[in-house]
């Protein structure tokens, strides 16, 4: 994220909102593009989207509103009437020096390149574990630029880049079921970081365990969590720590503990 001068449309919108009698105003705009490739056993789909959206929160001491939309924001609105509580907008703070990582500039994965990755995953999975197959594979690759400004002087721009890969697989089952399934959902900054042989091995291991492994008996005691498991544990606790619903959930847990 970097401190910047906001572009004119955003600044015009901010000025228009303040002039309408809403001294507390903040505007956010984002543009992005993404490619999505999906393979199933019988279908293939390639999508390309260009997204453009904005969000405004504004109000005065007697109330506020939030509005968001697609396309270019229009200073004329329509805007909802401010109701409820007043806003508390963040003040600007100095930013630490920051250089964008170089891979932010890497182009999005091409359609052929992406389909090749998904095809090779299917082949390598079948090579790792005979009769294993890819049920569904979804690869998404996207990038975006966003900008925010508010009436307290905050101005910032940021860029984002993310690729995700969802893989759902089936393999030969054990005694209980003729077929077992395993799925992974991964993310990386650049889709080119997904390594199909390693992923195929990982999924083959999961399928083999699902087919042959037994669930442990009820157990207690010390356990050592690998970092990805610890991360999931912490992610599960996150709702307790964010916003008003967190306090409500935490009070419910306290009541249950007592």
């Amino acid at each position: 994220m970097s401190a910047v001068t906001t572009t004119t449309p955003l600044q015009d919108l901010l000025v228009a909102l303040v002039r309408r009698g809403w001294p507390d105003a903040e505007v956010f705009a984002k543009r992005g593009r993404s490619r999505r490739l999906e393979l199933t056993g019988v279908t293939a789909a390639a999508s390309f989207s260009q997204e453009q959206a904005w969000a405004v929160r504004a109000g005065h001491h007697r109330g506020s509103f939030f509005a968001a939309g697609t396309g270019e924001p229009r200073p004329a609105g329509p805007w909802p009437e401010p109701v409820g509580r007043a806003l508390r907008l963040p003040e600007p703070v100095p930013l630490l020096a920051w250089n964008d990582p170089s891979d932010l500039d890497a182009p999005l994965l091409g359609e052929r390149e992406g389909l090749k990755l998904l095809d090779s995953l299917g082949r390598e999975l079948a090579a790792e574990l005979p009769r294993a197959r890819l049920l569904r594979a979804v690869l998404e690759d996207g990038s975006s630029e966003s900008e925010i400004a508010n009436s307290r002087g905050l101005k910032a721009k940021s860029r984002s880049r993310l690729a995700t890969l969802y893989l759902e697989t089936a393999g030969p089952g054990g005694g209980r079921s003729p077929e077992v399934t395993a799925a992974v959902y991964l993310c990386a900054r650049d889709a080119r970081q997904f390594h199909s042989p390693a992923l195929a091995r990982r999924l083959a291991d999961r399928l083999a365990i699902a087919a042959q492994g037994d669930a442990p008996q009820r157990d207690s005691g010390e356990m050592l969590l690998a970092p990805p498991v610890a991360a999931r544990l912490l992610a599960g606790l996150q709702p307790l720590l964010v916003g008003p619903p967190g306090a409500l959930l935490a009070s419910g847990l306290r009541a249950a503990a007592w």
Partner: protein, 437 residues
């Protein structure tokens, strides 16, 4: 209608591809939210519009979507879908959607107070965080030969959160009956908050219409979606298979959905139909969209739905109907002594490969001497679809609007509606929720 001024004829001319499925999908959405009182800002409004152009050729789909409705991005998206060189030029049709028409929403602002009063009428009092939303959507689909009529939907969603649980509902309107429905549901959750889960149970279960709706959605609708059927083989092979008890007649009929969400065409512009999913327990017509209908003459389009213009459509249900039986509700309970009454399900899931279905119940009631006795805590009804549906032994006489919910299959969040009577299942297994199967 925001799309009345679109030059649909010009759009249709640009799409001319006789051997392929090709269409342009225009949508406008508006969600207005009244957040819980403790969440700072007042009303929250999301308005979006855009389009998608889709080409299906030999089972492969290409789609290009934009967050605006204008001639130039339309021509650019056409070029992308056709995978033509950047130098190729495409016509830019005149696309001028009407302006946003904000509508006053007094019903949204008044609803939390109405729910609070209705809760008090149950002689209890507790704090709940209530989020109320109005959802509006307008759709216009244009094909090379056919321009479907524009469609619109309006409905509401309510989410109630408390320290002891969460309740969500979709509602066709916000009126006194809706407020009482939400209040009764959260009061029932409140009263069940300390009930211990039941021991593993095998026996009779009577499902109220709200729980039947979730059962039908998972066990019949998802199980008969052409794309999920294809995971295990040829979707048309399902036709004629006995999937449940002979008294089960299940339809998907978007045209009979509650007023405000009724449809005459689907999100691909195909006319909807009163689709018999099960007739006498036998599969008659799986859910299909244009893509799957091209794979077999047995599959009929009309059930293509889109959660977003950025994703291709897929076969989904809209409004499920279970035709009523001949048993009074009181008799259903009287014939289920020692069983469990399941008033509502919080969620359901179906593994399309194994056919195993899980229906999660936030609480249940024991049935004793034809009446409802003590409450038991969270439990789950689990079984294979065909086995569960073959255990249906009686249906109530009165089919009622059975509530609705969000379905998020494949990441496309869509509202689904249902009309159903009470239903009795014999010899089913329920386990305390949270215990592995």
């Amino acid at each position: 209608m925001p799309f009345s001024a679109l030059d649909t004829a010009a759009v249709a001319r640009t799409l001319s591809q006789p051997e392929d499925v090709v269409d342009a999908y225009f949508e406008r959405k508006e969600d207005v939210e009244l957040p819980p009182e403790d969440e700072g800002a007042g009303l929250r409004v999301w308005r979006e519009e855009g389009f998608a152009i889709r080409l299906v050729r030999a089972g492969r789909t290409w789609l290009a979507a934009r967050d605006t409705i204008d001639g130039r991005p339309f021509a650019e998206a056409l070029r992308q879908v056709a995978r033509a060189l950047p130098s190729a030029t495409y016509p830019e049709p005149a696309l001028h959607p009407g302006p946003a028409e904000p509508r006053p929403i007094p019903e949204l602002l008044e609803f939390p107070g109405a729910v609070t009063r209705a809760v008090r009428n149950h002689h209890v009092g507790f704090a709940i965080r209530l989020t109320v939303r109005r959802h509006r959507r307008w759709v216009q689909v244009v094909g090379p030969r056919l321009v479907a009529g524009a469609e619109s939907e309006t409905f509401y969603s309510v989410a109630a959160e408390a320290a002891w649980g969460r309740y969500g509902a979709l509602l066709p309107r916000l009126d006194a009956a809706a407020a009482e429905g939400v209040a009764a549901a959260v009061v029932a959750l409140f009263r069940a908050r300390q009930a211990p889960p039941p021991a593993p149970f095998q026996g009779v279960a009577v499902l109220a219409p709200a729980a039947v709706a979730v059962l039908l959605h998972e066990a019949v609708a998802h199980a008969l979606e052409a794309d999920l059927l294809a995971l295990a083989g040829n979707p048309e092979a399902a036709v004629g298979v006995t999937m449940g008890a002979a008294l089960l007649d299940v339809l998907d009929d978007p045209a009979a959905a509650p007023e405000g969400v009724r449809r005459t065409t689907d999100d691909e512009g195909a006319p909807v139909l009163r689709r018999w999913l099960l007739r006498g327990g036998v599969v008659e017509q799986p859910l299909a969209d244009a893509l799957w209908a091209r794979t077999s003459p047995v599959l009929v389009p009309g059930a293509g739905r889109r959660g977003s213009r950025h994703l291709p459509p897929g076969p989904r249900s809209s409004h499920l109907e279970l035709l009523p039986g001949a048993v009074d509700d009181a008799d259903l309970l009287a014939q289920a002594d020692g069983g469990l009454f399941l008033p509502a399900a919080s969620r359901g899931s179906l593994d399309p490969l194994s056919g195993v279905l899980a229906l999660h119940l936030p609480f249940a009631r024991r049935i004793r001497r034809g009446g409802l006795a003590e409450t038991v805590g969270p439990c789950v009804l689990r079984g294979r679809v065909a086995d569960l549906l073959s255990r249906v032994t009686a249906l109530g006489r009165a089919a009622v609007p059975a509530g609705a919910g969000w379905c998020a299959k494949g990441g496309q969040k869509l509202p689904v509606w249902a009309t159903a009577p009470m239903l009795r299942l014999d010899g089913v297994e329920l386990a305390p929720d949270g215990v592995p199967a």
